[in-house]
């Protein structure tokens, strides 16, 4: 069975600072990896995903994540955050070929001026 660990429940940063949100997973088979973002009182939205190919994936709003198979990690990074990036971020994994997602507990990113 797969599992996802998000080590940080909350990450406070100042605006324009870089940030890294950590995600580690465990699985005995090939996986697909996802980052979802949840803004207050909203559902989850896909930020980016890794299925295959290049291990570095990027989102349209400046986030990127790198799949590291040896370290079973899929950390999310942004070189310069904005106030509007304040949200809950969830890492998720699914077995390749299956649709069911297993989510981590989430990391709350708090960006202050």
């Amino acid at each position: 069975a797969q599992s996802v660990t998000q080590l940080d429940s909350q990450v406070p940063v100042f605006e324009e600072a870089p940030v890294e949100l950590r995600c580690n997973y465990s699985s005995s088979v090939s996986v697909y990896l996802f980052w979802y973002v949840q803004y207050p009182n909203q559902g989850l939205q896909l930020l980016l995903k890794y299925l295959s190919g290049s291990t570095l994936v990027e989102s349209i709003n400046g986030f990127e994540a790198e799949f590291n198979k040896s370290q079973t990690s899929f950390h999310l990074r942004k070189p310069s955050v904005h106030i509007s990036d304040t949200a809950e971020y969830f890492c998720a994994v699914s077995e390749a070929g299956f649709q069911k997602l297993v989510f981590g507990t989430g990391t709350r990113l708090l960006v202050s001026p």
Partner: protein, 113 residues
Amino acid sequence: EADIYQTPRYLVIGTGKKITLECSQTMGHDKMYWYQQDPGMELHLIHYSYGVNSTEKGDLSSESTVSRIRTEHFPLTLESARPSHTSQYLCASSGPGQGSTQYFGPGTRLTVL
């Protein structure tokens, strides 16, 4: 933006009442899911469907039931609500193909008194 809707957004109800949480999507997706999300916790899959007349229980045991009579509609029912059912319920859908994105509704926050 994904077209997936949930009603009601908020529901406060007394113990023992029967409730139905509605979920509809207009994207023609075959796969639909229900997740339960408690504050500060990961999302847990409680039900999923891969098409009309197909429903399966998820990883987290739930006293709720679901039905899938139409592609676009995936309601969740609690026959007799209890305070332990207090939670946020998120509905999602996804299209064909491996690793396809799950699109989430805004959620229903249920409080059982």
